[in-house]
């Protein structure tokens, strides 16, 4: 694993500088610093309530940190709204699946293409031919790249709310991928999945990260230590809004403080190995 991380470029894609976030008197994040290199899978772990999702919401723009800076592709993005961050290459999935239940799988993924439509409101009306051609291009992209990758051909036309939870999570991933993001934030993509689904999802994440077509940098929040240790190039450990450490999986496993705070005194990490 350490070998692999040396192969990655040193270019920084996302950087958090001294992020503070509190709700009233509750401190959710106090002084978080994080650097995510282009091309890596960087995980964030920590016990429940450590502030992981708050951190993701700050990165994605749903929350505004009271203090601190966020840099994406070397530009400051702290004041940007979530939809503006989506446009510059940031996509995410949610801890509790947030899919558009009444719509079909295909429509859900089509919405992920929203930012890539070039024809605006008037153009769409004026150049029906051009807009139609664009629509076909997007359709082909969705069919050939996303539906194929995630193996969801058979449910394309089903309304998402009728699908089992595992497949809903897959659709949500597909929708985020449709943005063709540079950074993909995955907030507990494995929670609530059965063993087989966990394996599938882990494989998809690896594909998205490694395949030439995608090469998406992933920021992964997950509790399944087995998968986290296997997939990640680096792991950021969070507890009560403070960073405990940031390092390779090997370093994290050896760190006594991490073991105390999260892994437990005993060998707890090998959950699903």
């Amino acid at each position: 694993m350490s070998l692999q991380s040396e192969q990655k470029t040193e270019e920084i894609l996302l950087e958090l500088q001294d992020i503070h976030m509190h709700f009233g008197k509750v401190k959710a994040l106090s002084g978080i610093n994080l650097k995510i290199k282009k091309g890596e899978i960087h995980s964030v772990i920590g016990p429940n309530g450590a502030g992981k999702t708050v951190m993701m919401n700050c990165i994605n723009g749903l929350y505004k940190p009271q203090k601190g800076k966020i840099l994406f592709k070397n530009n400051e993005i702290t004041p940007l709204k979530p939809y503006e961050r989506a446009k510059i290459g940031m996509a995410r999935t949610f801890q509790k699946v947030e899919v558009f239940g009444g719509m079909t799988v295909l429509d859900n993924i089509r919405l992920g293409r929203h930012i890539h439509y070039k024809s605006g409101i008037l153009n769409g009306a004026l150049y029906l031919g051009k807009a139609a051609k664009e629509e076909i291009e997007h359709r082909t992209f969705i069919e050939e790249q996303i539906i194929d990758l995630l193996e969801i051909e058979h449910i394309r036309h089903k309304p998402v709310e009728m699908l089992p939870y595992g497949l809903q999570k897959r659709v949500e991933l597909g929708r985020a991928l449709a943005l063709e993001p540079n950074l993909l934030i995955l907030d507990e993509p494995l929670a609530g999945l059965n063993l087989e689904e966990v394996e599938d999802m882990a494989r998809f994440i690896l594909d998205i990260n490694e395949e030439k077509r995608w090469k998406v940098t992933c920021l992964l929040v997950e509790h399944d230590m087995g998968v986290v240790m296997d997939l990640s190039n680096n792991i950021f450990v969070l507890n009560f809004g403070n960073m405990i450490m940031d390092g390779t999986p090997e370093e994290v496993q050896k760190n006594p403080e991490v073991i105390k705070a999260y892994l437990g005194e005993e060998d707890l990490y090998a959950t699903r190995k």
Partner: protein, 294 residues
């Protein structure tokens, strides 16, 4: 028989206007879940603006177009000033804000235009009626209906053939997820309110042409409720069909029941019908049936 046919035809014509206003209402509900209680005042604003331009000697179509543009601007302003801060707040708060907006609009209207009935002078549409076989219809009705239908088709196409239709539905469904996909909730709300202002304004102008224009045209905003309840609160085709049905119903009651119950049968019939209808079909004709699975 002739009376019956004529009542039906006039009902359809007026119903077209109701449908147009209802469509604007449905859009706001569809993308934000907000029951807009200021719709009636919005019809008045558009109508007063176009009558003002018209009385300044500007040709009717141009006056109408100008009022549409102002409606668009007002929609954006309403979103920016009143509703932007409420993104993410409970829907009920926003509904209360629309009640406030309705008072605010009404007050401003009375301040600017007074409470007297205004009419379009000279009349926009020729006064002599058109005869189609046994049916005689006023030209104002016919042209209003045509205008309403054109606008309805334009709006429906906008939602069917641009990506914003889907984006609006997505925002309504899950604002947080929509934001994460690069859909600007602000834009969606501003678009919905602008379209609502426009459709309300045109509806008000057309109705003002038929009956003259005063504060009571704002009842149109209330009349929208039976229309959308009938069609299903979030259904665009439902709003159109509902509008026409309510138009017919109202006219039939006016023609046949008024002699037995003189006074306001015409006014209350839609609401009585709404209550009865709700007993049997609480989701309307095409509304989403939300069944919680336990």
């Amino acid at each position: 028989m002739e009376l019956f046919l004529m009542t039906i035809v006039t009902g359809i014509m007026v119903g077209g206007i109701y449908a147009l206003v209802a469509l604007g209402w449905v859009l706001i509900y569809k993308c934000s879940g907000v029951l807009n209680l200021a719709m009636g005042e919005m019809t008045l604003i558009g109508a007063y603006i176009s009558i003002t331009f018209y009385s300044m000697g500007i040709p009717f179509l141009l006056a109408l177009l100008l009022s549409l543009i102002i409606g668009l601007i007002l929609g954006i302003l309403t979103e920016r000033i009143f509703l932007d801060k409420l993104i993410g707040e409970p829907v009920l708060s926003v509904i209360m804000v629309t009640v406030g907006l309705s008072f605010f609009f009404k007050g401003s209207l009375e301040l600017i235009w007074g409470t007297d009935t205004k009419v379009f002078t000279p009349p926009v549409f020729p006064l002599e009626p058109i005869e189609i076989g046994p049916i005689v219809i006023g030209q104002a009705y016919l042209w209003s209906f045509i205008a309403a239908i054109i606008l309805l088709i334009a709006f429906v196409c906008f939602f069917k053939y641009t990506r914003w239709g889907l984006a609006m539905q997505a925002t309504a469904d899950d604002e947080m997820a929509a934001l994460s996909l690069g859909i600007s909730a602000r834009f969606v709300y501003a678009a919905a309110w602008s379209i609502a202002f426009i459709s309300a304004g045109v509806g008000g102008t057309l109705l003002g042409n038929i009956n003259g224009l005063n504060i009571s045209v704002a009842h149109l905003g209330l009349l929208v409720l039976p229309v959308v309840v009938l069609g299903g609160l979030n259904s665009v085709p439902g709003a159109i069909v509902g509008g026409i049905i309510i138009g017919i119903l109202q006219n039939l009651c006016g023609a046949y029941l008024d002699q037995y119950f003189p006074g306001g049968v015409k006014e209350i019939a839609p609401f009585a019908f709404m209550v009865i209808f709700l007993l049997f079909k609480p989701y309307g004709l095409w509304g989403w049936e939300r069944i919680e699975r336990v």
